[in-house]
Structure formats: C-alpha cells, structure tokens
Subunit: 344 residues, 2 copies
Amino acid sequence: MRAEKALVEGEVWHGGDLATAKALFPEAPEPWIDLSTGINPIPYPVPALPLSLWQRLPGKAEEAALLEAARKAYRVAAGAGLVAAPGTQILIEALPRIAGEGPVAVLGPTYAEHALSWRKAGASVREIATPDDAGDAPVVVLVNPNNPDGRVIGREALASLARRLAERGGLLIIDEAFVDFTPRDSLIPELPPSTLVLRSFGKTYGLAGLRLGFAVAEPRLTDALRTALGPWSVAGPALHVGALALADRAWLDAAARARAADAIRLDTLLAPHGRIVGGTALYRLLATPDASALFAHLGRNGIYARRFQNDASWLRFGLPGDEPAWVRLGEALASFVPARHGAA
Amino acid sequence: MRAEKALVEGEVWHGGDLATAKALFPEAPEPWIDLSTGINPIPYPVPALPLSLWQRLPGKAEEAALLEAARKAYRVAAGAGLVAAPGTQILIEALPRIAGEGPVAVLGPTYAEHALSWRKAGASVREIATPDDAGDAPVVVLVNPNNPDGRVIGREALASLARRLAERGGLLIIDEAFVDFTPRDSLIPELPPSTLVLRSFGKTYGLAGLRLGFAVAEPRLTDALRTALGPWSVAGPALHVGALALADRAWLDAAARARAADAIRLDTLLAPHGRIVGGTALYRLLATPDASALFAHLGRNGIYARRFQNDASWLRFGLPGDEPAWVRLGEALASFVPARHGAA
C-alpha cells in the first residue's frame, strides 16, 4: 500500500505537511482537506500589517505590548516570568539546556517532540502512564489537555506533583498548547513552584505559520530562555498580530463556542467507525482496528487524517473548515467499507 | 545630558529600537528618521500573502523552495550544508553549542552579539585586531565586510586562516551579513574546510522584521544547527517572501547600484564633520571627537544615529529612505556647531 511508504523508522510523524499527503495519494481529488493537525481552521483575522512591521527589527515596545496582552490573556501572576518565542517548538528545544540533565519522565503517549528534544540533549527519557509513576525523576513533562487523547490532569493533582518536584529541586513542565478554550484547566494563574508552562498561539488562533509561543515560570527560568533565544527572536508581524488577538476576548469566546459545536458534529460523523477516545475542541481521536484502511480510504478521497507511530489503531481528526469540507468528510466516511468485513 | 541615560553598564547597544531614541529625545520632531541600523530603507516589495502562509505550519515544500533559492543566490556548492533560521541572531546563539568550548578569538571591534553569545555559553573570548593574532584559538569569528567599519578580509587570507584552523580541528565563523551587494567577497562558493558562513536576509532586503537568516557549512554542522532549532522554526511568510526575493537577481542588482549611490551621497554630507572610517553601501562610519554632541544634536532633530560603547568617537549612519529624510539630515548636519569651538 502506498500509504506505507511514509513509515520510515526513526522519523517523527507530524500532521500539517500536505506535501506528504499528496505524495502518498497522488491521484486524490483536489483541494485536499487537511485534518491532520489540531489547528483551528477558522483563523483570527489577520489585519492589514503596516510595512514597518516587516522592515524594522522587532522593537522593545512591540514586544512589551505582546507580553502585556499575554499576561492578561493567560492570567500570569505579577511575580511570574513570561517569555515569547517564535513558536513553542523552539522553547521545547531549549528546555533541556536550562532545566538540567534529567532523567525525564514524560506522561504519554503524547506529542513526540518533548521526549525527542530531551533525548537529543542526551537525557534519559521514560514514558509514564500516570503522574504517580514519575518516581524520583527530577523533570516531569506532560501535555494538558493531552494531545492526542484530550486527557486532562486536574489542577490539584498537578500542584501536588509540582510540590513533590520542588522538594527535590526538580521541574514540572506542562505544555498547555490546547488549553485556550478551557482556561479553567490552566495552571498558570496559580503557578506552583518549580513549574514551567508552555502556551501556543498558532493552534487556537489558527495562525500556525506565524510562529509564536510562550513560557511562564519563575523569572530565573524565563530569563534563561530569553537569553538562549537572544534578541529579536519573534518577528514583527507576530508581535503585532499576537498582541491584537490575545487582547480580543470576544473572538476567543465565540471561537470556543463554535469549535465545541464543530467537535460534537465531528464526533457524530466518527462514532459509527470506532471508539472516540477523546480530544479537545480542535481535534478528536478515533480508535479502530480499521485505522490503516480508513486512513488510506480518506487519503484517496483527498482527506488527510493523522496516524500515529505508537498506536496503529489511532486516527486523529482536526475540524473541517467549511461546509464543503464537512460534506466531503461525511461522504467519505459513509462510503468506507472495512476490508475485513468484505465488500458490500 | 539626556542622551547619557542610555549608558547602562553591561547592556549591549543596538540600533533599530526607535522607542529608545524617543525616550532620549522626547521633544524631537516627528517622524523620526532612524539611521541607527544598516537595514536597507527601500525594502523588497512584500507581495500579497496567501492566508495559508499564516494558517498552516510551515511546510517541507516551502522550506525546500527557500533553501533552493538561497543555494542559487549564495552560490552554495552541491556538497555544502545550508540551514535556514528565524534570523541570523538565533544561529549566533546556537553556535557555541555546536562548535565546541572555545577559547574564541573575535576579530574586532565588531557586532557585539558574537562575543556575547560565546561568553554566555561560558567560553573565553579574546578580541583580536588581525587574523594573524588568532594564535591557537580553536574558534575564530569575524564579520566580513565588518560592521561597523566595513573592513574586508580578502578571500585568500580567509582561506589560509581556515586551513590553519582545520589543521587543529577548529572552526572559522564568518558573518557575511553585509556581503550581498559585493558577492565577490563571499567565501561561500569556494567554502574552505572548517568554515561556517552566516548570511542575513533582512538587512539587504530591508525586511528585518521578517526574521530570516542562514548558515552554510559542512553538513555535519548545518545538521546540528537544524536539530537545535527543531522543526518549523522559520515562519510561513518568511519562507515565501525569502524564496521570492532571493530568486530576484534584477532587484538585487538594482538595489546594489542605488544604495551605492546613496552611500556616496551620505559620505558627502558626513565628510565635513569628521573622518569617514569606512562602511558598506548600507551604512557609513564617522569618527569625530564631537560624536557625542553630534549624536545629541541629531537626536534633538529627530534623527537617530548609532553610537558605540567601545569607541565614543564613532557614529554610524544608515541610509535615509526618501528625499525628505535626506533633506532633514542635510539640514541637521549643516546646523551642527561643535561646542568646543564655541557658538558662531
């Protein structure tokens, strides 16, 4: 099967690269419907950008405005540190350099780049199933809500874990990439000691190409990240659009309601095809023994879902962005006949 | 004097942050004329950007197109490695992590972030006056043409230095941020062993807010930089605009001619005020014992020049971007009366 071509050992799979999908299914109808990411398909409207944002080095005043908007949006306490970066990914890459040598316990399965970044830095990484399995690891990483299954660890359990880590001079790293629509789950407003929280801009606001992410932690840690990035790491347009969007609470509230309704609609389409493991309002995770065949069937119909290396029975679906995409997804799912049951 | 407020010990000065100038000279007429950087004031025209560039994660195909355009523009040999980053600065920050522990010899005075980055990483850094002073330092850093004085080290001298470094397993780092208009000075086409060259996009193309830079070296080193940055480090709009601009040889040639003429016009204005040490077609360096008073006089006229911590007699001037700015600069320079000669 063509789809198997992408199964290269050792390569980390990601969604979002349509060129891969097109190479796997060259005969698929266009336009492709990319459901392989958890990026909001209805983006925050990008305003007309003054040319000066492109021309000039990003200024201290623009960065300060972005950080002020992020502090309010994320409810960062006055004493906590906050640093902006060109995407959360580059913060994930920098963390092993500022947060010790590990060993690291990663609550999984989850977004693969956390473990990879630590391993690249030479740290020993162990995947754990629950926070209680962390043992005496000095660094614990978890994604909350989790990607891809949407599991949410409660704030009290996280605060307790953070306290245990603080007692042994460790660090709890929480990636809140998908918490914007359920801010009550964020640990930022009452940040425990020895805790660093990552926030992503591009997913909720549908502007992943902009590259903007944040870390919140005690100032010692955010200062170290800022030093590692150096000056002007965030582009001028990202500073500007980020500050506008993060101050726009009405947009966020409306997007949260609309995407929650979309997620229910998606569940209705997916439910006949397997078990919906969970997800967030930006993606849903389906478990089915027919995952590989369903992935290929959708691919032949120009619809790109997300497979997983660690569990071949999983498929993750982002949200269609318009009515034609919903209709095509519905028709493609309805026309799927699992091979093992024989053709109708 | 108000201007002295910015003289904070230990802070690295940069041009380009107009908020600093406005704070120093709050009564200055608007609009400010920012001559504090070496950024081309006539930018490459930013095309209308497809919304997908903002929405989607930067794709492998877009990154490949940018790298292909950069390979041609910079004349990178087939076997050499090339990596793109969100600005050269973040590569400068990453170099100490991939290029050993030093000690480092930096040909200076030059752009301060090179020495700072190595010092932040714990390396011993020594400023040298000529390449022959490098001694047995395993890492040598130089900016060519140099910022701020425009000094150019010839390709043969650099190749010889690179050979000496290769013999002892060292690395020559050449920052060619200002070589685009004089490509014959670039070491990239005949890259010696143990040599890494940095290229900046934003200065020549007048789009410093975009954040785009490159490193060329043997693949082992560029792979290490790519790994340090992680995926999606360059924003979608930067991939797109960078690929277009780097392929536009006609624009580059016309810009080189126009800026060279501008630089001569600037020299004519500056010459009565001191000695023109040198520069490139994007900036000129003036040496005068009246530098501090001239900086303040220009500031009160809403014109922001670049001072230097290491030499109080230096002022660097970027190019005015339009005729009104040229006229205001000419008038401000003409009305300057050095205090030590008394008022007229």
